[in-house]
């Protein structure tokens, strides 16, 4: 497991495309301390390897598949009306360099 340092936290935040104040990083670092201790409670639970990781609370498997029929799409003006930067009926960004 990756050791938690200020740098690791800053890097994680940057990868999530935001940053925080230094004070907040400190708070976060403390929270990780708390969380790690809390996580140890999970660590103390015996026999967890016998359980498959659970995403769904019970067996909710289904056979339903959507019929391949096209529905009326959004009107272009509706699709774009919340976008803050547009041009030529498309959303505009600074040039994306490959």
């Amino acid at each position: 497991m990756k050791t938690i340092t200020m740098d690791v936290l800053k890097d994680a935040a940057n990868r999530l495309l935001f940053t925080m104040s230094d004070e907040q990083y400190k708070t976060l670092y403390e929270e990780f301390g708390v969380l790690t201790k809390q996580m140890e409670k999970i660590g103390e639970i015996k026999g967890l390897e016998a359980y498959a990781p659970m995403t769904f609370p019970f067996d909710c498997s289904t056979t339903y598949l959507r019929e391949d029929v096209a529905e009326e799409p959004l009107k272009r003006e509706d699709a774009l009306k919340n976008a803050g930067n547009k041009q030529d009926e498309q959303i505009k960004l600074p040039k994306v360099v490959l």
């Binding site: 598949l65 391949d68 029929v69 959004l74 699709a79 774009l80 959303i91 600074p94 040039k95």
Partner: protein, 478 residues
């Protein structure tokens, strides 16, 4: 030192379904930007994915054609990363449980066939289209959410040609199963490749280089061949191969560095919680396979059995619409080879000249078959039929019979008596040719047939002439 190249191909195929993979927006009909969007494709908060049945059916068919084990339960995962063309900030894919795994495809290699193993096939969704300008980029979300299948081979390929054959084999399967248009130039089939080399005999793999931006089947071969050569030169001069991503530059024919491969991106895959596991019954899977349109290999076999040459079959099958046209006419002619001939020569030439696709041909298969039959049983020569065909193409309302009338075309003389008349006259006029024929000069027969055709103004059946001439020549003494 001799090197062996180790090559794997990752192919993304855009499925041609009516609606998208997880939303019901129309799939790929419009070129008008941002007109084929459902709220999910724009990643509006609160929208949820619902799996497209036809996409699953297509994936099953392709997996089956590739001899893969098909998972009867569908699970989906999230691949999390940020990019301008990824509206949700994650892509829904099948990382842990792909719908198909452990398959293979046979490709033709010098000397026979080779098995290329395929690791996995899974469903996922496409990203937005980006149009780059000088200092800005425009995003079109029509493509966002279009269904994809990704096919990943094991590194069994050893050179550019094999890779190209492999990609074409995959293309043929996805096209003929009705899954995709499979056009690299249009982006409905995309190929990335990993190339490494190692000294012959070494088990350990060399450093892998990823190559992207290959936009045609020919370029698969060219890019890989260049890369193999580049890596060989590096190693021979004592330099290491660096792990990186390169793109193929068509103009120069070279691969060029895009970026160094840093630690592989961590996509933080986890199970997609908005799609509960979907159980596919045996009946559903069997039905999907049973109802799969006939695939390339099966058609090829059928055409060859019907008397077509390999090259004729290849040409027809290179265009599924041409193949479909051919098959419609097949039962209406005596020898499919004759129909194939007309398609490959006269029809193709017409389409090329008019820059049309066969879908725009103003001639139904049944009508073309009628013309072919005029050659097969109607006593007309190929040239006569070609003339009728040309006239009908110019005036699609004209029936072949009417066209024949208007062109004053008359059936060739096949009556042996009449033909003998011409033969005897020609033989009398060309005694030297008889001598030449007896002396074993093959040209002589052809010359004599030509003379008979001339004398009869082309109105005799050349095959008959040849047969009767030979008979007569054999009868005569030298």
């Amino acid at each position: 030192m001799n090197f062996e190249a180790v090559i794997g191909l990752e192919i993304h195929v855009e499925m041609r379904t009516k609606s998208k993979m997880f939303s019901a927006a129309p799939d790929g009909f419009s070129h008008d930007p941002n007109t084929e969007i459902a709220p999910l494709d724009m990643a509006f908060p609160g929208t949820m994915p619902v799996v497209n049945k036809q996409a699953v059916i297509n994936a099953i068919r392709v997996a089956n054609a590739l001899h893969m084990t098909i998972d009867h339960t569908l699970y989906f995962d999230r691949k999390n990363y940020f990019y301008s063309d990824l509206p949700k900030g994650f892509q829904i894919t099948q990382q842990a449980r792909p719908i198909g795994k452990d398959g293979y495809v046979m490709i033709k290699v010098p000397g026979g066939e080779k098995k290329i193993r395929i690791e996995r096939i899974h469903m996922e969704e496409d990203t937005c289209k980006q149009e780059h300008f000088m200092d800005y980029t425009l995003l079109d979300y029509n493509r966002a959410g279009v269904p994809l299948v990704e096919i990943v081979s094991l590194p069994d390929l050893r050179n550019g040609t094999e890779a190209m054959e492999y990609a074409e084999a995959i293309r043929n399967i996805v096209v003929y199963s009705g899954t995709s248009d499979g056009k690299m130039e249009e982006g409905s089939l995309r190929c990335d490749t990993n190339v490494s080399i190692r000294p012959c005999g070494q088990e350990e793999f060399g450093t892998k280089v990823e190559i992207k931006n290959i936009n045609s089947f020919k370029n698969i071969e060219a890019a890989i061949d260049y890369e193999i050569d580049r890596q060989s030169r590096l190693l021979l001069s004592g330099d290491p191969v660096v792990q990186e991503t390169r793109r193929y530059d068509e103009a120069s024919g070279k691969t060029i560095r895009m970026r160094l491969k840093s630690d592989a991106v961590d996509y933080k895959y986890f199970c997609e919680p908005n799609i509960t596991p979907i159980k596919l019954s045996d009946e559903f899977v069997d039905e999907a396979i049973k109802t799969c349109p006939e695939l390339y290999d099966a058609k090829e076999k059928r055409y060859l059995m019907a008397g077509l040459s390999q090259s004729d079959a290849d040409i027809l099958l290179s265009d599924p619409e041409m193949a479909a046209y051919f098959e419609e006419g097949m039962p209406l002619v005596k020898a499919p080879k004759d129909l194939a001939n007309f398609l490959i020569v006269e029809i193709n030439s017409y389409l090329n000249k008019e820059t049309k696709a066969i879908a725009e041909l103003p001639l139904k298969p049944a009508t073309l078959a009628e013309i072919v039959m005029m050659q097969e049983t109607g006593g007309l020569s190929h040239k006569q039929c070609a003339d009728i065909l040309a006239k009908v193409l110019l005036n699609p309302q004209l029936s072949p019979e009417k066209a024949k009338e208007e062109l004053h075309i008359v059936a060739q003389v096949s009556d042996s008596g009449a033909i003998m008349g011409f033969i005897n006259a020609v033989l009398a006029a060309n005694p030297q040719s008889i001598v030449d024929f007896k002396a074993g000069k093959d040209r002589a027969l052809g010359f004599l047939v030509g003379q008979v055709m001339k004398a009869s103004h082309g109105k005799v059946n050349p095959a008959e002439v040849s047969r009767l001439l030979k008979e007569e020549l054999d009868k005569r003494q030298s």
